[in-house]
């Protein structure tokens, strides 16, 4: 039989732990711990941002090393793609001009641009089960829960919690995230749910719609503060069964979630 010989110091430490946890949970649930967390994050944010960026730099360096063999081929592909995009862009500019003229003639209101707030990523949640980012902008600069957060024009998440100096973003790849969206090409609507890892699934797509790989998925603007038309990703694969009412599609994000350093919060129109 094992002897349970706990030293008084060990018992005292265990008691302190219980006290810390109990008071912490209580303060957290009542919202009193929020300002403490907020100030701690704010005070250490320069140091955290520096470490976060250093990690990004090291990660990029290794990415470059691993992809060096493919650079020549990728370069050629990008040149071709660039030429194609320049051509498309020219056509689109023309179409936009025509569109604006027609809208003016028809009396449509010109839609204003988004009001954006730049924010730096301070840190990321330590456990993979919860995909949160902490940003260095909070209630002080007008951030509130429900606002969309973008990176390179693509939706990456929604503000979930705000404090005075900082805010927390729930990434769209988190399993608890749900975003209303539609497929740009077919106009089929559905909901985007986060999956394990950094992937997403679009559910509730009507069966009669043809969904193709590579189709673009954008926000529908239904519900909440999410504006319409922000890109979410592209269709990676489609799962369609005849005996189902809806089809589902796996969505590939356009953003590499490991690259997030500086993001934009959409404050409104």
């Amino acid at each position: 039989m094992a002897q349970v010989n706990l030293k008084p110091k060990t018992i005292l430490l265990l008691f302190i732990t219980l006290l810390v946890i109990f008071s912490g949970v209580l303060l957290d649930k009542t919202g009193l711990l929020g300002p403490v967390k907020d100030i701690t994050v704010k005070m250490t944010s320069p140091f955290q941002i520096a470490l976060f960026r250093a990690g990004q730099g090291i990660s990029n360096f290794f990415d470059i090393l691993s992809s060096i063999n493919n650079l020549s081929r990728e370069n050629q592909e990008l040149k071709n793609r660039n030429a194609q995009l320049v051509s498309e862009n020219t056509k689109l500019k023309e179409t936009k001009k025509e569109n604006n003229l027609l809208k003016q003639q028809l009396g449509f209101k010109q839609q204003s641009n988004f009001r954006l707030l730049q924010a730096d990523v301070i840190n990321r949640n330590p456990q993979s089960a919860l995909q949160f980012l902490t940003l260095d902008q909070g209630e002080k600069t007008g951030v509130k829960p429900g606002l969309a957060v973008t990176f390179n024009g693509a939706l990456i998440g929604i503000i979930k919690e705000t404090d005075y100096y900082t805010s927390k973003v729930l990434l769209i790849t988190d399993q608890t995230s749900i975003v209303n969206a539609y497929i740009q090409e077919s106009r089929a609507s559905g909901v985007i749910k986060g999956q394990l890892g950094y992937s997403m699934k679009m559910e509730l797509i009507p069966q009669n719609i043809v969904v193709k790989e590579g189709d673009t998925v954008i926000t529908s603007g239904l519900g909440g503060l999410l504006p319409k038309g922000i890109i979410i990703g592209t269709v990676d694969s489609v799962d369609k069964a005849d005996n189902e009412i809806f089809q589902t599609a796996m969505i590939k994000p356009t953003v590499n979630f490991k690259d997030l350093e500086s993001v934009f919060i959409i404050l409104g129109h």
Binding site: A2, Q3, V4, K7, K9, T10, L13, L14, I16, T17, V20, I21, F22, G24, V25, L27, D28, K29, L33, V36, K37, T40, V41, T44, F47, Q48, L51, F52, A54, G55, Q56, I58, S59, I122, N123, R124, N125, P126, Q127, S128, A129, L130, F132, T134, K160, E161, K168, L170, Q175, T176, S177, I178, L196, G197, Y198, K258
Partner: protein, 179 residues
Amino acid sequence: MRNLIGIPLIIFTGLLQITLLPHFTAFNLIPNIALVILVIWAFLRPPEECIVWAITAGITLDLFSSGTFGIYTLLFVLITFLISFVKQNFVSDINFPFKVLTALTAFLLFNTFYFLLQQFLNLIHIESTILVPIDYLFKLTPREILYELIAFIVILKPLEWFNEWVSRHEQTVKIPTSK
């Protein structure tokens, strides 16, 4: 001396966990290095010291994480205490297989209970849906444990050397004062 080095070191590890490590994911998972260090430290040092480290690491991660305050502290202290307890009362020879097996159990306990506590006690600040436990426990947890086990094997020896170095330094500091 040991806590003077150890406490800032474990706070720094907590900060690395949320800033640097997210860039070095495998299968999109982040290994919990703070937990790995605490498990190794529990093999090397007495329980009182390990619990102080566990409280420090727990509070650091609880302050910066998005879940409810206290879960990291609770699990870290519980795991380091259990390892110390088993080490003192049941095992005479702490060899490598024992360390690996204990670490594996510790990682399994941590990842499972972290998730279950967040889920079923409804301690998280997410009001929308509940995660699917089966999905998480059977898909994500084994990968996370494997990743942490690899990190454990990599860090084990350097941390043992660090412990020896600190022990030697402490002895050399003590000799002149004992004269």
